[in-house]
């Protein structure tokens, strides 16, 4: 059995209007029918642009959000064994509390040990993530961004979780610090046998840490495959465009960027059938009427006209665009 099973999960946020009755006038379809499984010991990467629902999916997986429909099953005690590392190392630590007490929170909530044993455990955790245990009594303001992210990781590890969901854990950090935190996460995985769901918009970081990668677009998974397979042989046109648009520090890389038309549409009223069709260079009649299902074995994609190996997608004309947004 998989460690975590997500089946047909939907998460909608109501949009309300009016002063007294707060009528529901619409819904944001943040996650709209996602199914996937996370196997013990692996790292599942989730990539996508802002508004694709990757963070909402993360919060559903950790139980921070109640799902609108669908089911999430975890092989164990979800409240203890699933923990989360957040993006913003500034916003996710209470500035008025000492580092030691922040890291001890999960222990206190779950009534683990005595004050003295908790203090020992916190010092152990601080050493584990590369912080000086003597800094136990310091405040978050005394730490740099990279160190704060280590505090967030120590807090997530306090209860010896089995699954850690990392939501953009390094995107707020400078490049040289990013690499330190990514290496730390990798080492902790080997040392503690952790399973990760790693959410990020930086494709090269996701490639580096992940065994499998899922690509999301407007609340849906459009492609999921073993990491190298996905990066070398993308089948969904969106994945191909995303990969070609990625920032690569190589001046000799051929500049065959696939430039897509317009922006990501609003998740309040997503396009019908295939949600990518208004921007897709390969879209045909069928894409506007029939929603493609996520099919395949190992490497799955949701597209009627997938990219063939060796095929070159054409860019949108740099001309005029209609109303977007």
């Amino acid at each position: 059995m998989s460690l975590l099973e997500v089946s047909d999960v939907r998460k909608y946020f109501p949009i309300k209007s009016g002063v007294f009755f707060r009528r529901e006038v619409g819904r944001v379809h943040a996650v709209d029918g996602v199914s996937l499984s996370v196997e013990a010991g692996e790292t599942l990467g989730v990539v996508g642009e802002s508004g694709c629902g990757k963070s909402t999916l993360a919060r559903c997986m950790t139980g921070l959000y109640e799902v609108t429909s669908g089911k999430i099953t975890f092989d164990g005690d979800m409240r203890r064994d699933v923990q989360m590392v957040f993006q913003d190392p500034y916003g996710s630590l209470n500035p008025r509390r000492r580092i030691g007490s922040i890291i001890a929170d999960p222990l206190v909530i779950h009534r683990e040990g005595t004050a003295a044993s908790r203090r020992e455990r916190v010092k152990e955790l601080m050493a584990l993530v590369g912080l000086n245990p003597e800094h136990y009594n310091r405040f978050p303001a005394e730490f740099s961004g990279g160190q704060r992210q280590r505090v967030g990781i120590a807090r997530a590890l306090a209860l010896n979780p089995r699954l850690v969901v990392c939501d953009e854990p390094v995107s707020a950090l400078d490049v040289s610090i990013q690499a330190q935190v990514v290496n730390l996460l990798k080492d902790l995985q080997t040392e503690l046998g952790l399973t990760y769901v790693f959410i990020a918009h930086d494709l090269s970081v996701v490639r580096y840490v992940s065994d499998r990668v899922a690509v999301m677009y407007l609340g849906k998974i459009v492609e999921i495959a073993p990491g190298e397979e996905l990066y070398e042989r993308p089948r969904h046109p969106y994945t191909a465009a995303l990969l070609s648009a990625a920032s690569v520090a190589d001046p000799d890389r051929p500049r065959d960027r696939v430039v897509l038309r317009g922006d990501v549409p609003s998740p309040i009223s997503p396009p019908r059938a295939c949600r990518f069709h208004p921007r897709c260079p390969k879209a045909q009649e069928r894409c506007t009427v029939e929603e493609p299902l996520l099919l395949g074995d190992g490497h799955q994609w949701a597209c009627h006209f997938p990219v063939e190996p060796g095929e070159h997608l054409r860019s949108a004309e740099p001309g005029l665009e209609g109303r977007a947004g």
Partner: protein, 309 residues
């Protein structure tokens, strides 16, 4: 001759804890039609060093020399500087929403810039505005729309249209793609690449540099540490900081080699070479004596090891 020639630029912010020396003696030049990439991490002084030239860092002490087309920008009266800033040097910032006025239509904002700097009628200014919007791929009919009616990527295009409004000789783009998603970022990079005028791109994203810069300068703790052509910088990085930065980026599945430690405080930067506390190849001389820019003219760097090469 260079379009912009900056020599020994220093920018200091007086604070209650002492002087914060954000930029400490930086020299560079931009040739007409060329793209200069300025790369560095937060606090490296990359934005301040360019903004200070245009009088955009209130409260700072700016010293040194900056000749724009032969005219000294440092110490120039504010009114005169404002004229140059609008008409001959355009600017594109990271966050277009805070640089656009929310209550005026985008066409009006562009037209107004034209009216201030050119002797034209209202009708003509509006037609310039529509033309510029079309050049960045926005239908001229949308000139009457307000900033909130555009998406993030479209707003960044509006900013570019505005920067282009008066056919400037130089455009300064400060983290132009940082707030954007990958697919939209690709559109903006295409657009910036087609501008034709000289461009200074300030970014922390080495991918942007690899994509569009002709020349690159790398900054660390308020200092210039390396200058090179784009290809030379990526193929033959010389300064240990530049090397560390490039090694920190994931390349497939190879284990990352981060730079240990973290950037120094600018209130009390370390003596000698600012990078020495984190440098894997430092020698006894590094903490004592500060290295000047050494090496070939087209690819100098500030490292003592350069002397032995």
């Amino acid at each position: 001759m260079s379009l912009l020639e900056v020599a020994d630029l220093r920018v200091t912010f007086p604070t209650p804890d002492g002087d914060l020396r954000a930029v400490r003696g930086v020299s560079f030049e931009v040739r007409a039609g060329q793209t200069l990439g300025v790369v560095g991490e937060s606090g490296s002084g990359k934005s301040v060093s360019v903004q200070a030239l245009l009088g955009l860092v209130p409260g700072a002490r700016v010293e040194g020399s900056a000749l724009f087309d032969g005219e000294q920008l440092i110490g120039m009266p504010a009114e005169r500087l404002r004229r140059i800033r609008g008409a001959r040097i355009g600017m594109v910032f990271q966050d277009p929403l805070s640089s656009l006025h929310p209550m005026y239509s985008v066409g009006r904002q562009i037209a107004e810039a034209v009216l201030v700097h050119r002797r034209v009628g209202k009708e003509q200014a509006w037609s310039v505005a529509r033309e510029r919007l079309e050049q960045v791929g926005i239908p001229g009919a949308r000139a009457r729309d307000y900033p909130h009616q555009f998406s993030g990527g479209m707003r960044q295009r509006v900013m570019i249209a505005m920067a282009m409004a008066l056919d400037p000789e130089l455009i300064i783009a400060d983290e132009p793609t940082t707030a954007l998603d990958a697919t939209v970022r690709a559109q903006i990079l295409e657009l910036l690449g087609r501008l034709g005028c000289a461009l200074i791109v300030i970014t922390h994203d080495l991918g942007v540099i690899a994509d569009m810069a002709d020349d690159v300068m790398v900054m660390y703790a308020g200092k210039l540490v390396e200058k090179a052509g784009r290809r030379a910088l990526f193929r033959d990085p010389r300064h240990p900081y530049t090397r560390g930065l490039l090694n920190s980026l994931p390349k497939g599945k190879e284990r990352l080699t981060p730079i240990e430690g973290r950037p120094p405080s600018l209130l009390s930067p370390p003596g000698g070479c600012p990078f020495h506390p984190r440098c894997p190849v430092r020698i006894p001389r590094c903490p004592i004596e500060e290295p000047p820019m050494i090496g070939p003219e087209d690819h100098p760097d500030a490292c003592w090891l350069e002397e032995g090469r």
